[in-house]
Symmetry: C2
Subunit: 559 residues, 2 copies
């Protein structure tokens, strides 16, 4: 593992990021029905009616008590550059029904987000099921067309960020966490998105170079088993010499030096030289010559205790003798905890026996199909692992590989809209809203309240009646010590209006937002349910709309 490469995103990163969004989310990356609906709105002359959609999810992911909201930055870049090319329009013309009026395609050519406004929870905030995270308002046909892309950008980003935050909670604050899942990700961009949002969610480093290039995520990585097994004998090592770190000696033959250390080590530990793999030693020596400041080999290609650990220590002892600080080792199979304890014991023995304090600061990296559960167990068991690498379970979110964000119409031309559906939990909450977060005396949030936009905000210290959403629907009276507005305008009439946070700021925002949570809500197993409620007025509006059918039911007789 190299030292963390906290490189700033490349010089062209901002434009590269916007270009990357154009490439990854072209305006045709959406569902066909968005276009058929847009046409039907346009045909009926309704395409410019002011409409409001909301984006939310119905259940917290991973059976957890919270989620983290992410993906907003990408949404904003997407909206800012949302425009159809001539090629896009020509393709749409070839696939929409022949009955489509050609003038509609002229409308598409001129369409952009200059009349669209977004009111959103800030990126990296702790959020809960059923809270509208983004409110999107603008011309009906335009905001309809944005649905699939916005969902796609928020769903996976928020899911991975939440997953990473859970891994961080499971690992505790001290261990360094390395994301290394690109090869197992759901497509190239599944990997890139995961690297980015895993870092925001609490991981320290990634193996993914493109994530470093585009987003400035610190990177790490030294060698795979293939590097080790590619060597058969010490004869393949070339050059065989290394100059001491202070540079003031002649080059030293590192093979001879290492062999000497290996002999002493075998004696000290009573190890069998016959079981040591020469090819593995050759790989380590060769790598140390290439990168004497970055020596961190993988030591389980053959056998950790019979070969890898001995080879590592002998090369590391040689490096120390030449004034270099070896970094440590990686374990990639077997029982990581047990092995790390044994490896650490040998490191300490070497440090003392050979009077080399450098061996006290060697790090041990563990990578072997780590899941949230095994991370939790690892944290409970005795182990000496300093850095945990996580791949598949992090980047593909195996426990729940999708966050079910939806995008629902709540208002058209000032009139509230509501869907009932055959499944009660798929009903929507109508109307344009304000969202408040209520905090208790200790500063912990305890309830998010959805009010109608025109209602006054709940006041600190004043009891207010509300109706929790979900199963338990009995009316409550609650008093907050503090009330905050959860969302703010981030995109107004085509312009990004809030400064976009850097990845470092958003990452810090995630941790500070999680810190405010009461432990009962951030428990990984069986957390207490956080309450999301609607105001009395909004509750009444829902009842009125449900009854609505009866009131305006005479249309059959009218006219």
């Amino acid at each position: 593992m190299n030292k963390e490469k906290m490189a700033a995103p490349s010089s062209h990163a901002c434009s590269a990021l916007e270009r990357s969004i154009r490439q990854r989310v072209p305006p045709l990356l959406t569902d066909l029905y968005q276009f058929t609906m847009a046409y039907a709105y346009w045909r009926a002359g309704r395409h410019n009616e002011p409409a409001v959609f909301e984006l939310f999810f119905r259940d917290n992911p991973f059976s957890g008590g919270f989620s983290l909201f992410s993906g907003l930055h990408d949404c904003l870049l997407f909206l800012r550059s949302f425009r159809f090319t001539e090629e896009d329009v020509a393709y749409l013309q070839s696939v929409l029904p022949p009955a489509t009026d050609p003038a509609f395609f002229h409308f598409l050519r001129g369409l952009d987000c200059s009349e669209v406004t977004l009111c959103s929870v800030p990126e990296g905030t702790v959020v809960f099921a059923r809270v509208p995270l983004i409110e999107i308002s603008g011309p009906l046909a335009v905001v309809q067309l944005l649905e699939t892309s916005l969902l796609c950008l928020v769903n996976f980003a928020s899911l991975v960020c939440s997953n990473a935050a859970r891994f961080r909670l499971a690992a505790g604050p001290k261990k360094k966490l390395l994301e290394m899942g690109l090869r197992r990700a759901q497509g190239p961009d599944g990997g890139l998105t995961a690297s980015r949002y895993a870092h925001i969610g609490g991981f320290d480093m990634t193996s993914n170079v493109q994530a470093g290039f585009l987003f400035g995520v610190p990177m790490a990585g030294t060698m795979a088993h293939s590097y080790v097994t590619s060597f058969s004998s010490l004869e393949e090592v070339w050059p065989q010499t290394l100059v001491a770190a202070n540079g003031d000696q002649d080059p030293i033959d590192l093979i001879s030096l290492t062999k000497g250390w290996l002999g002493r080590l075998c004696e000290l530990l009573g190890a069998e030289p016959g079981k040591i793999r020469e090819g593995e030693l050759a790989a380590f020596v060769s790598y140390a010559i290439a990168y004497p400041h970055n020596f961190l080999p993988v030591i389980d290609s053959y056998s950790v205790s019979c070969s890898g650990l001995l080879n590592f220590c002998s090369v590391a002892l040689s490096l120390c003798e030449l004034g270099y600080q070896p970094l440590g080792t990686r374990l990639d199979s077997g029982d990581l905890c047990r092995q790390s304890v044994e490896v650490r014991r040998i490191f300490r023995l070497c440090a003392e026996h050979f009077s080399l304090p450098a061996f006290h600061s060697l790090i041990i990296v563990g990578t072997n199909n780590v899941s949230e559960l095994s991370m939790t167990e690892l944290n409970k068991k005795e182990n000496e692992i300093d850095v945990v690498g996580v791949g598949t379970h992090l980047v593909t979110c195996t426990r729940q590989p999708s966050l079910g964000c939806v995008y629902k119409l709540v208002e058209v031309k000032g009139s509230p809209k509501m869907k009932f559906s055959e499944d009660p939990e798929k009903s929507t909450v109508p109307g344009r809203k304000a969202v408040y977060r209520l905090l208790d005396d200790d500063g912990h949030p305890f309830l998010d309240m959805l009010c109608l936009a025109e209602e006054p905000a709940p006041k600190a210290g004043v009891a207010v009646r509300c109706h929790p959403l979900g199963r338990d629907k009995t009316c409550q009276s609650v008093t907050a010590a503090q009330v905050t507005q959860l969302r703010l305008d981030v995109f107004v009439c085509g312009q990004i209006t809030e400064p976009v946070c850097s990845i470092v700021e958003t990452r810090e925002k995630v941790q500070s937002s999680i810190r405010t949570l009461h432990p009962r809500h951030k428990r990984l197993q069986e957390p207490d349910l956080y309450t999301v409620a609607v105001s009395e007025k909004l509750h009444n509006l829902m009842a009125v709309i449900r009854k609505g059918s009866v009131n305006d039911s005479n249309f059959l007789l009218a006219n």
Copy 2:
């Protein structure tokens, strides 16, 4: 749902596809350690040593009996255009350790795949765990650098294709299957890749327009609930008239016509007019006027039986009266089977009562969080669903969201390479190989055999000894009725050497490959394990290498 849009990929599709690969899989989209290893090889003068890697997975996905190999086409386009830009190299120079010799970056600037050769299973073939699907040979540093990208391109493509094939098996051959998961996918490209390989795996259509544009996948889609709920009253319908299909009449007021049918329908069915949603009827009428040939609304925005079905039938009856053929309805919540039976009953009643045979050919589309399990159950229960839409469970492969393909070094400079690891199942099979598929008398494959490349192929009708991989390792003697070579050269020295199949051909290849499988291997639950074995010679080679450490263990004393 529109009729299937079997549009050819857009005129620029081929170049667009290659461009899309360059954008989705830039050469920096890889793990950092590929570069540190490449440098160490280069520093030791080993970068041009001829090396061979293999790509394979260790377990069939979804606890199934087989997988489908996909992603090759993308791999080939990736290899053909694999080159670092000046910007890439400058970035690498800024993040690799300062000790890196600047001449290495000159080497990277000139690097391409002109000396790389791929021998691969054809795209769309049924494959099994532990069979090397692709053999990649070329200069050591170059083929090392390709690891992560090739894995990323094959892993998810093969996983989704296999998942889609299982959904197809669960659904039976008759139902049409629609993929509609973009919004829940793991990032934008997770959705695009899923749309493409779900079609190859057996789905008929996608909702994803970009998948139609880039790959020519047939598309479908008409309307969401938002379209329905955006209407409140019939006054919003404009224009209100429709010209008959044969065009030889004056425009007809579709609202009046529909109201008339709705009245008769309520009478026929004894329905309560008071429960019918006017806004829903307005949405249906408006859509029918926009797309009279493509009328397929979603009917559960409020209540299927009390409102949606009645509104649908009345508009559909009007369309029939004007000479149009309505397409059908979509159900998106509740018990799809039960509702579809009820909807069909009403369709039949209308067809008979109003003497409208068109009502016999209406289709019913069901979409409600369908999984492989619910698809299997749906196939067993009485239902009248013609088209099933599948989203989340298909595109994110919820049952197992990652296929664990790995990329292992098997030969350098003609010498076989093997990793042992602390986990026995992570051991690799060394050496360059030929892979044969053995078929029984009925043409069913029953065993895949890995032989050393230089061995003669097993002969039909001649018994041959082999050693199954995996747990049951007893030696077997097998006789095949037919022997085929599983892989062929597809990329030789930088050139694609086999004609690349179209999506239609690959899709057909998948189905024909699955048809050859014995039912005991393609059973979705608890299938019989397919045998993958190594030849006697390969088995012996593995034993020799395992013992190898002892033989060349005198290196400590040598020199």
